[in-house]
Subunit: 447 residues, 2 copies
């Protein structure tokens, strides 16, 4: 196979994975990777741990420049922002060292990622409100937290709670303020969210849920917020919030953009324009489950799309599965996982569903020191699993089971009759998901 000229814009997780896929499909492809940052190929998912000082920013290096240039034989163009995408001429244009430079491609992969949406709070333009999206952000938060006695975290996403936990564990008095009625909304339904919040409250974190943030206060710098007339000040303020896909380049070039602002792609990660692929946070993902394309936002999706986009860009043929949005995180030692639709989402889409819950001790009943595993299942009234939430030991792997069942519409009896193992320190006779599945069957038969 004649080597294609493959240009990849963006050297994050999706871009690097795409480069690997290109090389694995084609030995001769000429790979060029362009990134506006000089510091490329790092794992954004570790930023909270840099901010909390648990690891250094160097640890986040996904792949070394040497790996990219020597092993993958990619040409790296870093510190250059692509300003124009000329789809007619199959060319990207960036501001090079000697003026505008161009790069012709046979295949183009857009892996430009996302960025935090601007805050919609009066006064939030003041300096002193940290965001967390770059290594520099993470290092700034880390430095500032070293002298902070109080912290205010705006938002209650996984990232927000990971940060709050880190601050709190360093004896910084931490308050979380969110407009949502419960933490982790969008990930968990309120009951599961409340479980997580209770654990973090126990550790000393203060939560103010369902509170509109009216404005930021402070003279030269942000020093706090006003909510419900109450002024809450803190030495350190971090605002988390919605992410926006970096799709302006694609949009200007005429590529179709989805409702969330991400580049629309098909199962091959191909955009609406020939020979242009998109992968990761800048794109939307095909999914029947959510009844229409969805923003990706997950590292797990970024690597999967990167693989597919890279293979196809190099002349291969690969297809993505439907996204089921399997997402997990660990807070205060407790694993949390959510897959598919929450009940809140199912309701908003207009799906008729039933839900069942169970919370069982995860050691044998006779052995102390174990924890409960909370499981909630959401099924259509015809008995198809469309969502699952887990809080407790091994949640992420239970989430994998749910993901397999949702992806392939497996009967719920596969779960209720599953031959799970039993052992004193690993699993009870009847793990919660089995009992939740049985309850779901009872509800469906009765209903």
């Amino acid at each position: 196979m004649e080597g294609k000229r493959v240009v990849i814009v963006g050297c994050g997780l999706a871009g690097v994975t795409a480069a690997e896929a290109v090389r694995s499909v084609s030995e001769n492809a000429a790979i060029t990777m362009v990134d506006e940052s000089v510091q490329v190929a790092y794992a954004r998912s570790g930023l909270t741990y840099v901010a909390s000082g648990k690891i250094s920013s160097e640890d986040l290096q996904l792949k070394s420049n040497e790996y990219l240039t020597k092993n993958l034989k990619a040409r790296l163009v870093t510190g250059r922002k692509v300003s124009t995408l000329d789809v007619e001429k199959s060319r990207v244009i960036y501001d090079g060292s000697g003026g505008l430079e161009g790069e012709d491609y046979d295949s183009l992969i857009l892996a430009t990622g996302s960025q935090p949406a601007p805050l919609d709070i009066p006064g939030s333009e003041k300096p002193g409100i940290f965001r967390l999206w770059s290594i520099r952000d993470a290092e700034s938060i880390r430095n500032s937290s070293q002298t902070s006695k109080t912290a205010l975290v705006l938002g209650a996403s996984p990232l927000a709670l990971e940060l709050s936990e880190a601050f709190n564990s360093r004896k910084i008095e931490t308050t979380v303020v969110t407009e949502e009625n419960e933490v982790l909304s969008g990930y968990l339904d309120p009951a599961a969210g409340a479980l997580v919040r209770a654990v973090l409250e126990e550790e000393g974190i203060r939560f103010m849920c369902g509170r509109r943030i009216e404005r930021v206060v402070g003279f030269e710098r942000a020093q706090g917020i006003v909510s419900g007339g109450e002024v809450i000040t803190a030495d350190l303020i971090v605002a988390t919030g919605a992410m926006l896909p970096n799709s302006a380049l694609a949009q200007t070039a005429g590529l179709k953009i989805g409702r969330s602002g991400g580049i629309l792609v098909d199962r091959r990660c191909a955009s609406s324009v020939e020979n242009i692929y998109a992968a990761g946070d800048c794109a939307e993902v095909i999914t029947d489950l959510f009844r229409g394309p969805q923003p990706s936002r997950l590292a797990s999706t970024a690597v999967r799309m990167g693989l597919v986009a890279g293979s196809n860009a190099a002349g291969g043929s690969a297809e993505s599965q439907d996204l089921v949005r399997n997402s997990s995180f660990r807070l205060d030692g407790i694993d949390i996982c959510t897959v598919g639709l929450t009940a809140t989402e199912a309701r908003s889409i207009g799906i008729q569903f039933i839900e069942s819950e169970s919370s069982e001790y995860q050691f044998a009943f006779y052995y102390p020191g174990g924890r409960n595993l909370y499981c909630k299942l959401i099924l259509t009234t015809s008995g198809v699993l469309i969502g699952a939430q887990f809080v407790g030991p091994s949640s992420s792997v239970w989430g994998n089971i749910a993901a397999m069942m949702i992806s392939h519409s497996l009967p719920i009896s596969y779960l209720s009759n599953l031959e799970t193992s039993f052992s004193t320190l690993t699993q009870p006779y009847w793990p919660s998901p089995i009992l939740a599945a049985r309850r779901a069957e009872e509800i469906l038969h009765l209903g």
Copy 2:
């Protein structure tokens, strides 16, 4: 429904679960539970933890006598050994307080469990060799271990290794001697067994594998063994080994017995004689995977068979799934799980198979302190999963995924393409089972 007279022989896990199932199907059934022991309804799986002093024998109480008699309204006949089963008259006979007493049944459930096979070592009839099968055994080992400086464990089953770990953690110099070439044979293939052994060796346990035990030495009491001409002495000797189903009563009464000595049952847990059911260790289990009925031996199977036997004995209709023998345990904080056939077993049955392995770090690459998850998959040459072994975090739940796939012959692509979640402390981009599944696909496509 007219209440049936249901007699259950054996008040272990299978018997108690059967009683619960009887009661849930029939409010009017007259339940009689007979057990030769006075101390009934305890969880045998916790005996190693009683022996190691981590819990007390009272903790093992599965259900209280009050629960059985008040909640389940069962009549308890304890300390009575059933001596005869008269299938013609539908009657069991035991030695009561005033001579032989009888109990008529409409349905009989045999849940008589198993016992350790006698040791086949010259000199093993000497006192001083402990077995571990009853609460008294566990308490004896616990008492003896309090003054022991050295321990010798014969066998390398999960139970043997759990005990060894417990002794070792209490600074008792512990040696494991097994005739098998590697620990956990029958559960894991040698590579996985060696991984587990390495962890335990690191903790200080000494292993002598592939060593025939020639005889027991000692004058009045056993004080050690001879193996390969070498004398190995210890203050405390525990012998583990094969289990024998308690099926003599059934056999004498003419019920069909399987090759392993267990009572033969169908998917309804019905024996070869009408109205007689069997559940748990005393029975064999239907399984296509193993090409013929197999001993059960697992608590997870005992509860499942108990449910089915109890439902059917009460007039309901329930069926067991094929056993896939999902089995897990935790040693030195490491979870181990094995499902289905090992490669060794597949070979001995004459199945053509391929195998693939993977061992990946289970945190994100940038976060220290995580562990690897080892995964081995065994597939028929036509691509059907027939076995899986896991050593590392969340092994038991990964084993559940394998169990679901094996039970329903799901395509291996369901695993290789599974949308697993990613998060720093919960799961890497590509967990080992995904990579092992991909390798299996590569082997199958190439092969």
